[in-house]
Subunit: 180 residues, 2 copies
C-alpha cells in the first residue's frame, strides 16, 4: 500500500504593478495582447491536472472568442446552477464546497496538481492555507482600481522566493513557495 | 543663460507581496530587520537632494530609535503646525502646497532630485503625474491588510521596466521609469 499522493495547488496569474487582475468592469485590456511573450504558461498548464475557477472567471472566459483552457479539466465552483451549453470543446464540471473539500474530491479522482484561478477563488484558497505555489507576473502599468489579486488573511503567509525573470516587454515574473 | 535644471522625483520603497507598506497600525515588523541585505538604498539616498514626506511618515520615523535620514534635507508636508523639537540632528523643514508647488519651491532652492516617501504623499505625487522613477522592493510575505502603496489614479500610468534584481533573503527589487 502506498501513501496517498499529496496535492499541489498553484496560482499562475498576471497583475498590474498595483496588484489588479482586471479593471472594475472585468476588462483585461491592460494585459499584453495574447498574454505577452512566452513566459512559462504553456509549460505550467501542461503540468496541471485540473483548473479550479469561480463563477466570475467562468463567465469572463466564456465571453472570450475561444475557450482558453483547451481540453484541460476545468472545475467551476458554484452553489447555483451553471449553463455549460456555451462551452465549446472544453471539459467543464461544477463543484461546490470548501477549498479543503474541493481538494479532497479532486484528489479522489486523481487530480493532484490544481491550478486555482480568479480573484475570489484564489483568495478563498489562500485564506484556507491551501496554496503551495504562486507565480505572479507583473505588467508594467498602474491602473489605479480594479479586481484585486489579494485579500484579507487570518494570518501572515510567509513565502520562499524561488526565482524571478524579466522579459523584454517589461513583464517581471516571480515564483514563490508558501512556507508551512 | 542656461535652461532650468529638470527635477526628478523618485520613489524607493519596500512592500509586502500584497502591496502594503505598513500594517494597519503603522507597524513595519514584516520588513526584514535593518532593511535586509544591501539592495541599493545607500547609493540611492546619496543621489537625493531632498526627501519629501507627509505628516504620518514624519511621526512614524520620529518614533524610531534613531532619526533615519541623517543630515539629508527633509521636507514634511503639512498645513498644520509640526513639532520639530524631537528631531535629533536632522535637517527638517515644513512646506505645504500641491505637489507641483512643492517641486517648484524645491527647484528654486537647488533641490532637483526628490525622494518622495510615505503612502499618502507617494499617491498624491503619482496622481499629479509628477513621479519619474519607482524602485519597489517586494518582501516575500502576504500580510492581508495595511497601508497600501498605491491608490486611485485619474488615468493609467504606463511604465518602462528598467531592471530587476533578487537577493538571497527573497527580496525582489524592480525599477521602473514612468512613460510620458
Amino acid at each position: 500500500m502506498t501513501a496517498p499522493q499529496p496535492t499541489t495547488v498553484s496560482i499562475f496569474i498576471g497583475t498590474s504593478l498595483d496588484g489588479f487582475i482586471a479593471r472594475p468592469n472585468g476588462a483585461l485590456d491592460f494585459l499584453p495582447p495574447d498574454g505577452g511573450e512566452p513566459h512559462g504558461y504553456n509549460e505550467f498548464i501542461a503540468s496541471v491536472d485540473a483548473l479550479v475557477i469561480g463563477r466570475n472567471t467562468f463567465e469572463t472566459v466564456l465571453a472570450f472568442p475561444k475557450w482558453p483552457y483547451g481540453k484541460k479539466r476545468v472545475i467551476v465552483l458554484s452553489g447555483k446552477p451553471l449553463d455549460f451549453s456555451k462551452v465549446r470543446g472544453g471539459a467543464v464540471e461544477q463543484m461546490s464546497g470548501t477549498p479543503a473539500e474541493i481538494v479532497g474530491k479532486l484528489a479522489a479522482t486523481g487530480a493532484h496538481h490544481l491550478y486555482v484561478d480568479g480573484g475570489i477563488t484564489i483568495q478563498r484558497f489562500l485564506r484556507a492555507g491551501l496554496v503551495h505555489r504562486l507565480v505572479i507576473t507583473r505588467v508594467p502599468v498602474l491602473i489605479g482600481e480594479g479586481v484585486p489579486l489579494f485579500g484579507t488573511l487570518p494570518q501572515d503567509i510567509r513565502l520562499h522566493h524561488v526565482s524571478t525573470q524579466h522579459y523584454p516587454s517589461g513583464l517581471v515574473k516571480s515564483e514563490y513557495e508558501v512556507i508551512r
